[in-house]
Symmetry: C2
């Protein structure tokens, strides 16, 4: 038995059977630096998938902040400490409107769980609207808001589900799709009302990551938010995927659509791997919530987590990563479009900044998604070529490219070369679309 096979057997015995690994022949990573990771055999792989190490694997400033504060003190928010206050102020300064009152948590799941609770307490309603095939996390509550993970028949009556604004693959296509997609929100609110539920919130990821990385029609978000607010609901922007410069246009995804959310939730990229998340809202909403509820999270906002999250913001600012992400993103996007000219399997190139999806099809006219097994084989070929990418979308046919923000033009060229070769040798065999629920790539 090889060392990896032995580790795999131990893992299968000690971790729950639900734990999944990427690739049939799993990648055993041992170190990482910037956009590069290295496996146990010393092979270097270009990381074009992971957004958690947002400012790059093992960024020295982040590691230094982590080490320094962990040596000095790690307690909780029931003692006075600067770092958590500094962090809250920094986030408030980055957010629009009067979004500036923070709750700190440890994961995006905890952030979304709390955000929905806040919306429910403040509005006095239970209803929540999310997208079809959404993913927002894994708690008992948030799991139900993640429509990609369980059968539609099991949806609770308070849940409203709308088609995401997929103008390439969705039911409404073309340039004027904003109003009709937003109208689906109005229709869904009517259906919820028929089930005797009114909306507490619309929870939206403005990158629509789990739908294959979408750019919505320009007016979709504003129109939908107006509809939800008109019905008395709040708008929660889940910025776990779209935030932190990812889309290369603004720091936050919601800014791309001129939306000022009522509540914003943060997770994955915020600590570059360290478990930290946040809920940010307005003074009025925070005050209304506090009238009925308190909230305390032991680890949330501890001095170490806060110091790490501050270091991530410092790096983003000092290394001008938003402009960098826009520049490299344009370069990468241009390269992907050129690949699409040569490879018919690429039905659509969608995304911006350092977040792209290639919607892969068997036929550009019918837009039928390629088989999951075929998509997996393409991703495996990329890995053999030294590049880590993933899959997303309702049919798991969208190649997902989401590297750390410090990705350079040369890295983009390297990725494009490997992808070009993988696509050139790609031979679809078919075998059914879609994937096991929860088997996120």
């Amino acid at each position: 038995m090889t060392a990896d096979a032995e580790l795999l057997a131990r893992r299968q015995a000690a971790l729950a059977p639900g734990y999944q690994l990427f690739y049939d022949d799993p990648v055993h990573l041992v170190r990482g630096s910037g956009v590069w990771v290295e496996d146990a055999e010393g092979a270097r792989l270009l990381d074009c998938y992971n957004n958690v190490p947002s400012v790059g694997h093992g960024h020295p400033r982040v590691v230094s902040a982590l080490t320094t504060q962990a040596q000095r003190l790690n307690t909780h928010t029931r003692y006075l400490h600067e770092t958590v206050v500094d962090l809250a102020e920094r986030l408030g300064a980055l957010l629009p409107g009067d979004l500036g009152v923070c709750f700190f948590v440890c994961t995006g799941t905890e952030a979304n769980d709390l955000a929905v609770e806040i919306a429910r307490v403040v509005t006095g309603r239970q209803g929540v609207v999310v997208s079809e095939h959404s993913y927002h996390g894994n708690s008992a509550l948030v799991r139900l808001l993640s429509t990609d993970g369980y059968p539609a028949a099991d949806r609770p009556p308070w849940l409203g589900v709308v088609e995401p604004p997929n103008t390439y693959r969705g039911p409404i296509r073309g340039a004027d799709a904003g109003a009709p997609y937003a109208d689906l929100v109005r229709v869904e609110l009517e259906r919820m009302a028929a089930r005797e539920h009114a909306p507490a919130a619309w929870l939206v990821d403005t990158s629509w990551d789990s739908n294959g990385v979408l750019i919505a029609p320009d007016d979709y978000v504003e129109r939908s938010a107006r509809t939800v607010r008109g019905a008395g609901g709040l708008v929660i922007a889940d910025e776990v995927q779209a935030g932190y410069c990812r889309l290369g246009v603004n720091f936050w995804g919601h800014e791309n659509y001129r939306l000022v959310p009522d509540i914003v939730t943060l997770g994955k990229p915020m600590g570059a791997g360290h478990p930290v998340g946040a809920v940010v809202t307005t003074p009025a909403i925070a005050a209304a919530f506090a009238e009925q509820r308190s909230y305390f999270n032991t680890f949330g906002g501890n001095p170490v987590s806060a110091a790490v999250a501050l270091a991530v913001l410092d790096v983003i600012e000092d290394e001008a990563l938003l402009a960098h992400c826009a520049d490299v993103g344009d370069h990468l996007g241009g390269g992907l479009l050129r690949l699409a000219e040569r490879h018919d399997v690429i039905g659509n190139v969608q995304g911006s900044g350092l977040f792209w999806g290639l919607d892969l099809v068997t036929d550009r006219t019918t837009r039928d998604p390629i088989a999951y097994a075929d998509a997996r084989r393409l991703v495996t070929d990329c890995r053999q070529g030294g590049v880590l990418v993933g899959l997303t979308g309702r049919y798991s046919n969208v190649l997902k490219i989401r590297p750390p923000l410090v990705f350079e033009r040369a890295h983009a060229d390297h990725l494009l070369g490997v992808l070009d070769a993988a696509l050139a040798s790609f031979e679809p065999r078919g075998g059914g679309v879609g994937r096991t629920p929860g088997a996120e790539w």
Copy 2:
């Protein structure tokens, strides 16, 4: 405005109004080492309250493990990595029976949320039994299991609530209280059945932290577990407080009562401040859950969190902290009993190891709890004397002593001296028992 007043004002603007600080004049901590913390003015305080820095503030081995792994690699469980497997095996080896299949999360809340979901999926029932005035965490689901935080009228119909086995203050007192307290579980299951709910689980913290730190009658846990299992429910041991040597008898609280739980949940002390938690169950339960559900937590079980959790276990083993905790705990317990001989306000000394509660009373015959304001003043006096302690219990009248596990006999003597002086000058003024819900000390 002093620097602290300025920081406080900034904090009040940037953090949600629900955030609470210990003490009317908050403690502004800037560094910590072992059992000592230091405030911004350079005053050293003996930490007799915090269990999160379980092996001491800033333990060099924990900081070193954190730094080394953070420099090397931080990813997630969808790539193969040793540390998470090592950690799962170490936890399995420490746990009784065939408890050895792990799920990793970031907080005790996430652990309890997932554990209850597992119990519900596996049993096909919704009911959960907890103690009166319990605390298990803060997600939408787990908040409802924390009966200390919201009015009894708001309890969901699937929730069963039983009196904890408080033989000093509860409805049943004396040596033979085990069977009658366990009978309350049977009665509550009947009430749940009348509400058309059957038990998925009994969720129990075998230190009964939020009830004032209790030692249950020896047969209570076994009898209650038998009743719950007889009705088809699982037993979940919440070891966030009672585990990790805290009670100085066994590594886990449930071992003190010869209980082999079906599911164990871990949090606070596991990472000595780093946000890591776990759910451990049996292969059979894990397999039954996996038939219906998958679970993935991005940060849960990442290489850095796993390395930190392993370092904490190494320190506990290499520094023989279980035996240490038993030894210092006996010394401390003896000292507390001597204090009780001289100070009538101490109605009862309860606990073991490095977890003690002093149930403070206005009258030893009636056992009426002292006023919250009086208890707060006593804690504040201890702080003025250089010692951090807290409050717990249904009436917030129980002085809570729960120092890091590296607490020494000399530290115990120091605490006893400060406490003796505070108790000697203690003058109850009255003013009502109890506290604001959620205002945990």
